[in-house]
């Protein structure tokens, strides 16, 4: 057995939290409004759709693949739901169920292309990312689809001081976390992410596991889409645009390796999503140029990816020894 967790590994293993703490303290000192309960709750509330979408994407990443269609999946499924409510006067609960089913179906299409047609997952979901968004734009004529009035105000619902969608996020993340860490399906996703050839040799149904990871990613993307829609009171033509990359960044910044097989949902997604929303919020409070968010977000992604590359380099060294 080799010893792990030496002191020299500390900055690498915990680099994320060092960066996190520095940014947090900086914003707290530099602005008046940042370090207030209301604002912190705002950050949590704003990050909910991102966190939920990222948790689904994380399952695919853990299996060793990618899904960059999650933003478009959220848009298309929510557009269908909103149109059904407006034009078909559908019951909102039923509409929500249909939206999630649509998301799962769109994910299943991804799964089919990757698992059955054996197309590289990045290419497969790149094509569906473009196609799904195109379909949604055609359906909505690229216009804003307003929600019916009673639902439009659902976004402001609070339980005591805490916005309701924070609870939704926590419940969803805990469920996905349990799925990943405590069920056979979750562990077999991790096994597959270690080495798909070995997993197949050991006798795991890797095709089925891979397919359902995409279905779940699609369904969770649409749940994230529903939260965004409720927060905005409408489905905008920009819903989920760029979400796939922010979600991927959340996954990686949170410590889930792009090589697959590593990480845990709850402890990766929440801090990962929080740091991005915190930067956006802090910069707004600072009154900074709105475009500076992209530059700083990009720097954080780069730092996280670099740390991941360093870490996995060490792991593979260890494996060879």
């Amino acid at each position: 057995m080799t010893a792990r967790g030496k002191t020299s590994d500390f900055p690498l293993q915990h680099g994320f939290f060092v960066v996190f703490a520095i940014i947090f303290i900086f914003f707290s000192l530099a602005t008046q409004h940042f370090f207030q309960l209301d604002n912190i709750l705002n950050i949590f509330s704003a990050m909910d759709p991102l966190a939920i979408t990222a948790s689904g994407l994380a399952l695919v990443v853990m299996s060793g693949r990618l899904d960059i269609s999650v933003g478009s999946t959220a848009f298309l499924s929510c557009a269908i739901g909103a149109l059904l409510m407006n034009q078909g006067e559908l019951n909102p609960v039923l509409a929500a169920i249909i939206v999630v089913c649509c998301g799962a179906l769109l994910g299943a299409v991804n799964g089919f292309i990757v698992v059955v047609l054996k197309v590289n997952s990045l290419i497969a979901t790149l094509s569906t990312m473009i196609a799904y968004r195109g379909m949604a734009l055609a359906l909505t004529d690229a216009l804003l689809v307003q929600l019916p009035p009673p639902i439009r105000f659902l976004g402001n619902t609070r339980l005591g001081p805490i916005p309701l969608d924070i609870f939704v996020m926590l419940v969803v993340l805990v469920l996905v976390h349990l799925l990943q860490t405590k069920t056979a399906f979750g562990r077999q996703i991790m096994a597959m992410g270690n080495d798909i050839a070995v997993a197949r040799k050991v006798g795991l149904p890797v095709d089925r596991i891979g397919f359902f990871s995409f279905v779940l990613a699609g369904a969770l993307a649409s749940v994230g889409g529903i939260l965004t829609t409720i927060q905005n009171g409408a489905v905008s033509p920009f819903l989920g645009s760029g979400l796939e990359f922010t979600a991927l960044a959340v996954v990686v910044v949170g410590g889930i390796s792009l090589l697959g097989g590593r990480g845990a949902i709850l402890f990766s997604i929440i801090p990962g999503a929080f740091i991005f929303e915190m930067i956006r919020d802090g910069l707004t409070n600072l009154g900074a140029d709105p475009y500076s968010y992209r530059l700083i977000g990009g720097a954080v992604i780069f730092a996280a990816m670099y740390a991941d590359a360093l870490k996995s380099g060490r792991y593979s060294m260890r494996r060879r020894l």
Binding site: M1, L178, K182, R187, M190, N194, A199, V202, G203
Partner: protein
């Protein structure tokens, strides 16, 4: 022989790959409570036979009888269901998962949707205890040594209630103590009545752990008996067959003069140690040892394909012999391996392009672009010199026969005019006439002053050309024999049991 005791019988197994017979009516008999060694040289068919038993490939003919009942095994999963487990040389571990998860991954014990973690840990502990080890089940496998990982692999086999466990070269990457521990584990499994099939290239191991030995050669089973009826020399003799003297291509010469290359104290931990030798110009030196003895590893270490941990390689540059780094030596050496498809040629490219690749620098014109005319001239010269049978220099290498592909590999390196050739099984998979042609080519190179270090599994082949033999075993050069040495002397030299189990370090 008592038929009721027999647990496993494979009879009349035949298998051909693309029309070439790998197994011709091979058989195997093994009993519970015993370890049966399966021995054979490179290409004897033992891996194919084991892959059939493990469900990795299907046999063309023959039957497998397990516990008196004929058994059909079509996939690794089916093999597991029938109680046949395969501990591969390449372990099938999932490094980021825990020990318990690795053992149970294909059928995780669950109640409702959730895994019964504690139950799984308890069972894992029990399985590992049977193997005499106490690795905590929550440990991640990536934190374990290869030896420990192998035990997890065996534990996984035990969980499937394996009646037959095939060990494929289990000790090749173990340290000395780990090897002893594995032997204890195997002894324990034998007491439990498991049929052990043990594949190795290390002769000493079969005498310390196996009760029976089966020897294969050219796809047939040529010997099967209790281990007490053979000695190491006999096993080597059976593996290699009677060395038919095909006649020397060149009588052994005694090279005189200064060495071209001198190696002292070369060491690669766990693989090679104390390697000292010299090669003179124009000399063909045979590196003779069984597979796994470190012969390929020695060639790789010489040219820096694997890092070395100590020792000096000296190379003659002009009149002086000066130390040289292995990576630098690579530029002076033509290295040809048995894996010509993987390492030797680029199959989709033409003969001309293949030969040009290592020589591009010398083919540049004044614009620093490749001079087609010179490339073509070079290719034509090589095709002519090596008598490559092809429609022309533009023929795609993939469409050539194996022998001609290997000649293209020679052509690539010849054009760089190396002074030393390292040849690792250069005739593997070639027919007899192609083999002879390659061997003639080797002699021709030596006549022109090149030195050659030649590895071959076929003793007959070495005996046709070598001027001198270096004998390698467990990563050490244990002896040196003159070119006049006979087959029995050469076989005897590698049958010596090395009681010193540590390879190196």
């Amino acid at each position: 022989m008592n038929a009721q005791q027999t647990s496993l019988r494979m009879e009349g197994i035949s298998k051909a790959f693309a029309g070439i017979a790998a197994l011709r009516g091979a058989s195997l008999e093994a009993r519970g409570g015993e370890a049966t060694a399966v021995m054979g040289a490179n290409g004897a068919g033992k891996s194919t036979l084991m892959n059939i038993l493990g469900g990795v490939v299907a046999s063309d003919r023959g039957r497998i009888v397990l516990d008196g009942a004929e058994t059909v095994i079509r996939s690794p999963r089916q093999a597991a269901q029938q109680g046949v487990a395969f501990v591969h040389q390449e372990l099938t571990m999932l490094p980021t998962l825990t020990v318990a998860e690795n053992i149970f991954i294909d059928s995780l014990p669950s109640s409702g949707p959730f895994i019964r973690t504690r139950e799984m840990a308890r069972q894992s502990e029990a399985l590992l205890a049977r193997l005499g080890c106490s690795i905590p089940p929550e440990t991640r496998v990536e934190q374990l040594s290869i030896g420990d990982q192998q035990l997890i692999e065996i534990a996984r086999a035990l969980r499937h209630k394996a009646k037959v466990i095939i060990f494929d070269e289990p000790t090749s990457s173990l340290t000395g103590p780990e090897r002893q521990r594995l032997f204890n584990v195997i002894r324990g499994l034998k007491t439990d009545g498991v049929v052990i099939i043990y594949i190795t290239h290390f002769l000493d191991e079969i005498f310390s752990i196996c009760e029976r030995v089966t020897v294969m050669r050219n796809g047939e089973t040529v010997w099967s008996s209790p281990i007490s009826e053979v000695d190491p020399a006999k096993v080597v003799h059976l593996m290699l067959g009677v060395a038919e003297n095909e006649g020397r291509i060149r009588a052994p010469i005694e090279a005189v003069g200064e060495p071209l290359i001198a190696v002292t104290g070369l060491r690669r931990d766990g693989v090679l140690r104390d390697v000292d030798f010299e090669i003179r110009s124009g000399e063909i030196v045979g590196l003779w040892g069984l597979l796994g003895s470190g012969r390929t590893e020695l060639l790789r270490a010489l040219v820096g394909l694997d890092p070395i941990d100590g020792g000096t390689i000296s190379w003659r540059d002009g009149r002086t012999l000066a130390p040289i780094a292995p990576e630098r030596l690579h530029a002076h050496v033509g290295m040809i391996t048995e894996d010509r498809r993987g390492e030797g040629v680029h199959l989709p490219l033409s003969i001309s392009d293949n030969i040009a690749l290592p020589n591009l620098k010398s083919l540049l014109n004044k614009w620093r672009l490749i001079d087609r005319g010179r490339q073509n001239a070079l290719a034509d010269a090589m095709i002519d010199r090596l008598k490559i049978k092809a429609s022309g220099r533009e023929q795609i290498v993939a469409t050539l026969s194996g022998g001609n592909q290997q000649k293209v590999v020679f052509g690539k390196w010849l054009a760089t005019s190396p002074r030393l050739f390292l040849l690792d099984e250069p005739t593997r998979g070639l027919d007899i006439s192609a083999k002879t042609e390659i061997m003639r080519l080797v002699v021709e190179l030596a006549e022109q002053g090149c030195s050659v270090l030649l590895v071959s599994s076929e003793l007959q082949e070495l005996m046709r050309v070598c001027d001198r033999y270096l004998i390698i075993s467990r990563g050490r050069l244990i002896d040196e024999l003159p070119g006049s040495a006979g087959a029995s002397a050469l076989m005897g030299s590698i049958a010596m049991i090395d009681n010193d189990l540590e390879v190196a370090s």
